[in-house]
């Protein structure tokens, strides 16, 4: 346990000094600041107003940025460390491979979740200060959604890092994964369905399996579960699960996917050459 926390702490210290983390923090802090500057809390679109409008926009933007950011930075730093000889040295110290791998995941998780959460928390506190009504239920669920999103893509990133032997390959693979998930978003599935190339059942299954789509549906389902907002397969999914059922699914499934990916990554990491 001591080795696990030591490794987690090490990863946090390393990441805090990395340029990617500074950009990452700036991006999410900047998004919230810009949303305030552009007066998003004053506008009303599709029923969203006040801080809820800001939060839903924030989570939509986060869904677009966070997955690729987490994937690329994770594979770059893990595979990059391996290439640069960091693994050769640090893994010559008496640390177990389980403590090393999972410690790295814990450290990195804290590093990627904290700025995203703090940006949202900052927006909420600012709204409270400005006497704007804070939708606490929405804030709580979005926090959980962000936590799960970070876990999901961190797990996939660690799996890719364990498989790829070089930074370039790992980075290319991460980009391909992200692109594939984008391709299977609801609105693109709709086009395929209209052309009659896939059955609605297949489209719905794909949408359910795609963590990006799961987050998108869950984020919007809280407010306006209309066809025009959600997209067709999300609408059907929501109809089948119900809002509460889907909200639970949207937390459990991506978390399980992330943990499963990380576990497979760990098994591969343990079996192969370390540096």
């Amino acid at each position: 346990m001591k080795q696990l926390w030591l490794t987690a702490k090490l990863d946090i210290v390393e990441s805090l000094r990395a340029r990617w983390f500074q950009i990452y923090t700036l991006v999410f802090g900047g998004i919230v600041a810009l949303l305030f500057v552009f007066g998003l809390t004053e506008s009303r679109v599709l029923g969203f107003i006040g801080l809820s409008r800001l939060l839903v926009t924030y989570i939509q933007l986060t869904m677009a940025i966070l997955p690729i950011f987490v994937l690329i930075t994770t594979v770059r730093s893990v595979a990059g460390d391996r290439e640069a000889g960091v693994f050769e040295y640090l893994l010559s110290l008496p640390v177990s491979l389980a403590a090393w791998f999972w410690g790295k995941i814990i450290g990195r998780y804290i590093i990627i979740f904290t700025p995203v959460f703090l940006a949202m928390l900052g927006a909420t506190l600012w709204a409270s200060w400005q006497d704007i009504e804070v939708p606490w239920g929405m804030f709580g669920y979005y926090t959980a959604l962000l936590a799960v999103m970070a876990l999901c893509f961190l797990g996939i990133g660690m799996l890719l890092s364990a498989i790829a032997r070089s930074t370039d390959v790992a980075q290319g693979a991460a980009f391909m994964v992200w692109l594939t998930l984008l391709l299977f978003l609801d609105l693109i599935l709709l086009g395929v369905m209209i052309q009659g190339k896939v059955s609605p059942e297949v489209a719905i299954t794909l949408a359910l399996a795609n963590p990006l789509q799961v987050f998108r549906t869950a984020a919007l389902a809280l407010f306006d579960p209309q066809l025009i907002v959600l997209g067709p397969s999300a609408y059907v999914i929501l109809d089948l699960f119900g809002v509460s059922g889907y909200k639970i699914f949207a937390l459990i499934y991506p978390a399980a996917l992330g943990l499963l990916s990380a576990t497979i990554g760990y098994v591969l990491f343990r079996r192969g050459d370390l540096p």
Partner: protein, 285 residues
């Protein structure tokens, strides 16, 4: 103590280690030499449990891959290339000390003996240190704990002569309780440190020989060099060895660590035509 049995490693159909059988006993100081690609680093990485391989590797009967913490707790490792760690020096020492069950103060003390003031650089990023400082710190981490096996890849390559002297003293203090494996491209770099030489070539052991060398790690040689004429480049080289000169800068005197004599003579050999007289006398211990 350390046993390699039919050790083989293949990378993409290239056989880097080809059936190595080797026993290294307690207290042995082994020079692992060979050209690039001979298999030295791969052998070391197998011992550190970092590579999968065919055959077996054991330290005190334990497989480093299956018993990582037990085996690596006994090994102090100094890599050839320092890792580009962004963490502060203090953090690195604390991390290594906590994992190895050593006192950070002890590591700092070894570093101080090597001429590295840890308190002054504790908050500096490791990656921002000079090559020599990084090397001193990695040596301090390896020697500042009770490692029974010291595995070092070109450990003194980046050290100045003064730090090398202290490094040899530090190794001398561990002669009775540590087994050493020192990897190098060149035998003259490490010959004085070892009592056994293993030369590797194309993944096999090409030579395994005992070294009957009377050089002790703590010996000192008094050196006096008389030059025919002043040469700034040679003067700079001698100043690097902390030699002092006469007023006309033609007579130079200084001290050379016993294990460094070959390296020192290598430096002098570049200016042979300038040397009118040279004496090297071992100081009585």
């Amino acid at each position: 103590m350390i046993q390699f049995r039919q050790l083989a490693k293949t990378f993409r159909r290239v056989r880097v280690l080809d059936g190595i059988d080797l026993d290294i006993g307690p207290g042995e100081r082994v020079a692992l030499i060979g050209s690039n690609g001979a298999g030295k680093t791969t052998l070391i990485r197998c011992l550190l449990g970092e590579y999968t391989h065919d055959g077996t590797v054991t330290l005190d009967g334990l497989d480093p891959r299956r018993n990582r913490t037990a085996v690596l707790g006994k090994i102090g490792f100094v890599p050839q290339l320092p890792p580009p760690l962004k963490m502060p020096v203090g953090q690195l020492i604390d991390f290594a000390a906590a994992l190895c069950g050593a006192a950070p103060r002890r590591i700092a003390d070894v570093a101080r003996r090597l001429g590295l003031d840890i308190d002054a650089i504790a908050t500096r990023q490791f990656v921002r240190l000079s090559g020599g400082m990084k090397q001193k710190l990695l040596i301090a981490i390896a020697l500042g704990r009770d490692a029974r096996v010291l595995v070092m890849d070109e450990p003194a390559a980046n050290l100045d002569p003064e730090a090398r002297k202290i490094f040899f003293d530090l190794l001398a203090e561990r002669l009775t309780d540590a087994t050493m494996m020192i990897s190098s491209h060149r035998l003259d770099e490490v010959s004085a440190l070892v009592n056994r030489v293993i030369e590797m070539d194309m993944g096999k052991i090409a030579l395994d020989d005992k070294v009957a060398d009377g050089v002790t790690l703590t010996s000192r040689l008094d050196c006096r060099i008389v030059l025919k004429r002043f040469e700034p480049a040679f003067a700079k080289a001698l100043a690097g060895w902390h030699f002092t000169s006469s007023d006309d800068q033609l007579v130079w005197q200084g001290e050379v660590a016993g294990p460094d004599r070959l390296r020192f003579l290598g430096v002098v050999s570049r200016y042979t035509a300038l040397v009118a007289d040279l004496s090297l006398a071992e100081r009585p211990q």
